[in-house]
């Protein structure tokens, strides 16, 4: 993982994702959920807040299996991925061709104040940092991309959204931690929002 000064700004990346999005289902959580709320809402958005940390990719897998005609994008942080690392194997085994996981890797537990994740401070036997993209690839995802610069971000997100190959696909996106206003932000009452989301999934076919 690059130094923070070299990492992309989370909001800038999400803005690119928001602009590239057409009719995909997009689930966000934690930091991505907080920032996604500043953009125009779409009926197929689901901000998974409150969440059970590490479960957003599992929810996304379920939606992708239930709605194979839609492209489903689940956004999580590296801390959330680490909390449910087995979900990578589950997703690869279920092999939904319409599913993309976007991991926003900032190396910290951002919403609790920026404490480093174990992966960000661990080194392999040869001193190398943990390579999340390699883990995803070895788990059996059909396509994995590292996204580390704004120059490549637009093209990468377009590929990962439109899934011009059979998924599941994954993007590991290097972003800098937010240093201010980093707490989780409530998008409103969960039971009403999930009903609206389910209705949109049924209606917009």
């Amino acid at each position: 993982m690059a130094d923070n000064a070299q990492r992309m700004d989370l909001v800038t990346v999400l803005r690119i994702l928001h602009k590239a999005r057409t009719d995909e289902v997009i689930l966000t959580s934690m930091g991505t959920g907080r920032e996604w709320q500043q953009f125009d809402a779409h009926p197929l958005d689901f901000v998974h807040v409150p969440s059970s940390m590490g479960q957003t990719q599992s929810w996304g897998l379920g939606v992708a299996l239930a709605q194979p005609h839609r492209r489903v994008i689940a956004c999580c942080g590296d801390g959330s991925l680490l909390m449910n690392l087995g979900s990578l194997v589950t997703i690869a085994n279920a092999a939904p061709p319409n599913f993309t996981l976007l991991v926003f890797d900032n190396g910290v537990y951002e919403v609790t104040g920026g404490q480093p994740t174990p992966a960000s401070t661990t080194r392999g036997l040869m001193g190398q940092p943990i390579d999340l993209a390699a883990i995803v690839h070895q788990c059996g995802f059909k396509h994995t991309e590292r996204v580390s610069s704004l120059d490549q971000c637009r093209d990468s997100l377009d590929r990962l959204l439109k899934l011009r190959w059979p998924g599941p696909a994954c993007g590991i996106i290097g972003v800098a931690p937010q240093r201010e206003d980093y707490s989780v932000r409530s998008p409103g009452r969960p039971q009403e929002r999930v009903k609206e989301f389910a209705a949109a999934l049924q209606a917009l076919k």
């Binding site: 059970s52 479960q55 929810w59 379920g62 085994n93 389910a198």
Partner: protein, 162 residues
């Protein structure tokens, strides 16, 4: 308790579309039949918390999933269950293997039986216990009741082995 065929027939008759879970020595005997069923899709997860998350996404997407895990997996998966069922109010149904219930000599000192029912009560889940062949019909009856009332539910299946 259930033969594999009885179990898959019961789920098929209820319109279940997906079975999401982790095998144990009893539930695992049903999984080949689930896998080969034309009417059910088996989604095997790596850890039980995932099962509630995947089932939540399936339900929101219009499918009719059930979660199939052992009681020890229920212990592990509490926060995922809490989020899906209580935060979001999703009426998910779990079929939970009750480890060693029928034969406590199989794992002397195992505490699974001590904690299973108190934990289910703590999660405020409407539960039926199926501990004899005469009660097998409770699985379908309870599922239908929960589905009609749009409430979550648990069928606790007594097991004789660890």
């Amino acid at each position: 308790m259930f033969t594999p065929g009885e179990f898959t027939d019961a789920l098929q008759s209820l319109g279940v579309t997906h079975v999401v879970g982790v095998p144990d020595s009893t539930l695992g005997e049903w999984m080949p039949a689930i896998f080969h069923s034309k009417h059910l899709r088996l989604v095997t997860v790596c850890r039980e918390g995932e099962a509630w998350g995947v089932a939540a996404g399936l339900f929101v997407g219009g499918a009719k999933p059930v979660v199939l895990i052992q009681c020890t997996g229920l212990f592990e998966s509490g926060d995922a269950l809490r989020n899906a069922i209580h935060d979001y109010g999703l009426p998910l149904f779990g079929i939970i293997g009750y480890r060693s219930y029928l034969n406590q000599s199989s794992l002397p000192g195992d505490t699974a039986r001590i904690f299973t029912e108190p934990i289910i009560n703590a999660w405020q889940l409407d539960t039926v216990l199926i501990d004899s062949p005469e009660k097998k019909s409770l699985l379908a009856e309870h599922y239908r009741t929960c589905a009609e009332q749009q409430q979550p539910g648990i069928a606790l299946i007594a097991e004789g082995r660890a």
